[in-house]
């Protein structure tokens, strides 16, 4: 289910503009585990631009085929099953892009990602975005945006969050936010949002590190 959002972009082959921010975050030569990697566009960019050693996990068989087609290594499976095969601290970056909202228990996977990754890069669509709020306030309907295009009954996005909720979750779970980028994502380009991101940004990218090891990897 996680790929349904991704496949919107996987047809055009180009890297979605917000993904470039994630690529820029990753240090060259790193190991990367992309959870809900879709057709592998981000992994391919990381491999090309950062010589990263990438692998992904993906639920959709169509997307798995796309990954193999790109020469990428991918595990066809359900993220809800967790990351039991991975040791603590065994991957430089665990990446979750636009994925946590489709999980049954996003909290558990985020904590797992924090355990496995020296750092985690997690991006979330922001349900606190002003257009979303206005739809609910003035039309009284479940909001739909280009980023959240589904009807209430068929959406794979069962655990939507806001930038404020997510930030609070990180604080409560000893995940230190060491970097963050707030964006309004367009078709071709993204605009950075600096003021009142929970209102003006429709997308947040967070780089996290588990607090208890924040000092050791600096």
């Amino acid at each position: 289910m996680s790929v349904e959002m991704r496949t919107i972009s996987s047809s055009n082959g180009d890297l979605r503009p917000e993904y470039q921010f994630i690529v820029d975050t990753v240090k060259p030569g790193s190991s990367v585990l992309d959870l809900g990697c879709g057709g592998g566009e981000l992994m391919k960019a990381l491999q090309k631009q950062k010589r990263a050693r990438v692998q992904g996990i993906e639920l959709s068989d169509v997307a798995v085929q796309s990954c193999v087609e790109k020469g990428l290594f991918v595990y066809h499976g359900d993220l809800n099953e967790g990351l039991a095969d991975f040791n603590d601290n065994s991957v430089d970056y665990v990446i979750l892009t636009s994925t946590i909202q489709v999980l049954q228990r996003p909290d558990l996977l985020i904590l797992e990602a924090g355990r496995v990754g020296k750092q985690c890069v997690i991006s979330v669509p922001n349900f606190g975005y002003w257009r979303v709020r206005l739809q609910l306030m003035f039309q009284g309907v479940m909001p739909k945006t280009s980023r959240l295009p589904y009807e209430w009954y068929d959406t794979p996005n069962i655990h939507l969050t806001t930038i404020s909720d997510f930030t609070r979750f990180c604080r409560q779970n000893n995940l230190r936010i060491i970097d963050k980028t707030y964006l309004v994502v367009g078709e071709k380009e993204c605009k950075r949002v600096r003021a009142f991101p929970n209102f003006f940004a429709d997308y947040g990218i967070f780089v996290l590190r588990r607090e208890d090891r924040a000092s050791e990897t600096d």
Partner: protein, 384 residues
């Protein structure tokens, strides 16, 4: 698939003999076997660097004839003809494909129906118990004899997949890629149970006579029943519904008798009858035993440790309705490889065909394999 697909055309099974006196092959059971003949076929051309060879290993009752036809009049081509040929997944315009038979069988390689050089009579039950490891050791002699230092890929389904894994464990430098399909690192007790019932059917046939039936009436009733049991395990509930439903065979009303009533019965009878024309009952006993004994995690006691030497990038494939080699068994392999930090892709193909899917899901499986060979094959996949 992009290019025109073709056939490898007319092919011929070839034979090579190894471990001739004074040499022999040391078997895992402690006994010695020699000389050993292996039947094999090849398709395509070995390049000058000898770097494009792919070893294909067949399942329990398969043979070396994987593609093309022996004669134009052959009704059916080789067992994996839809995957091997010009423009197909194993593209013979690019790759040199070797399909090897295994010892213990009856398709041209040394097995219980071969002549025992010590007695000048067929081995029968004097044939030593051979294992998946022994089969692979013999195949290694074949590949060595071709002057190939490293295979591009070793691939196979079911029992062939077991041999693929054994290859990767024992000869980690001998291949760049492995593709075990619908396979397992150890046969489940569930599958061992079906094998045991099949063997009981053969051994209960009075014609079997402790395996000494060569030159006399063969235990075709027992072998036919073993095959029927096998076929049940290769299908799925869904595929049986689709293929047969509850339809009666050539009749509108049941006869209320113990004759063949349902289409599914007729199908199994047919499969049993056809099989006994082409397969040796003793070979069925030996090969099914080899599968039962197979446990890649031994002697290390742990699959991850047992696979710690494996270096080949792997594509592991399972099928959703396969209850003989269920997906969790493939995931076990993937899990061990992942924990060893080996590059591995895993795909579970949605299919109603059961275990047989590895021969039938040509399009999905073919696409995966085409791309895996194409893109994971080159040493520096980053450069693409």
């Amino acid at each position: 698939m992009s290019s025109e697909q073709g056939s490898v055309g007319i092919v011929e099974t070839q034979y090579r003999t190894f471990a001739e006196p004074p040499n022999h092959l040391e078997l895992e059971c402690g006994r010695k076997l020699g000389p050993i003949t292996l039947a094999y076929e090849t398709y395509g051309h070995l390049n000058s660097a000898k770097s494009n060879a792919i070893l294909v290993i067949h399942a329990l009752t398969g043979d070396a004839h994987a593609a093309g036809r022996h004669q134009l009049s052959d009704r059916k081509p080789g067992w994996w003809d839809n995957m091997i040929g010009p423009g197909k997944a194993f593209d013979t315009d690019k790759y040199f494909v070797i399909c090897s038979n295994c010892i213990g069988g009856c398709k041209g390689s040394t097995g219980p129906s071969s002549i025992n050089p010590e007695t000048d009579a067929p081995y029968g039950l004097d044939f030593p118990m051979v294992t998946i490891g022994d089969m692979v050791h013999a195949q290694k002699l074949l590949v060595d004899s071709m002057g190939i230092d490293q295979l591009l890929c070793v691939v196979g389904g079911s029992m062939g997949g077991m041999q693929v894994l054994q290859w990767a464990k024992e000869y980690p430098d001998m291949m760049r890629l492995v593709i075990p399909i619908a396979s397992s690192a150890r046969l489940s007790p569930h599958a061992i149970a079906f094998d045991a019932v099949g063997r009981h059917a053969i051994m209960a046939d009075p014609n079997w006579s402790d395996g000494n039936y060569y030159g006399r009436a063969v235990p075709s009733r027992g072998l036919g029943i073993a095959r029927m049991i096998g076929h049940i395990t290769y299908l799925s509930d869904a595929s049986m519904h689709t293929k047969f439903g509850r339809h009666l065979q050539d009749k509108a009303c049941p006869d209320y008798d113990f004759v063949t009533e349902f289409q599914v019965e007729s199908y199994l009878n047919y499969q049993g009858d056809e099989f006994v024309k082409r397969f040796d009952a003793n070979s069925y006993l030996y090969l099914s035993k080899a599968m039962d004994y197979f446990d890649l995690s031994q002697p290390e006691g742990d699959l991850r440790k047992a696979l710690s030497a494996v270096r080949a990038a792997s594509l592991v494939v399972s099928f959703s309705s396969d209850w003989l080699f269920p997906s969790y068994m493939s995931k076990e392999i993937v899990s061990a490889l992942r924990r060893n930090n080996v590059d591995v892709s895993y795909a579970e193909i949605q299919s109603d065909y059961g275990h047989d899917a590895f021969l039938l899901e040509v399009e999905t499986l073919g696409r995966l394999i085409t791309n895996f060979l194409e893109y994971a094959g080159p040493r520096s996949s980053d450069e693409r």
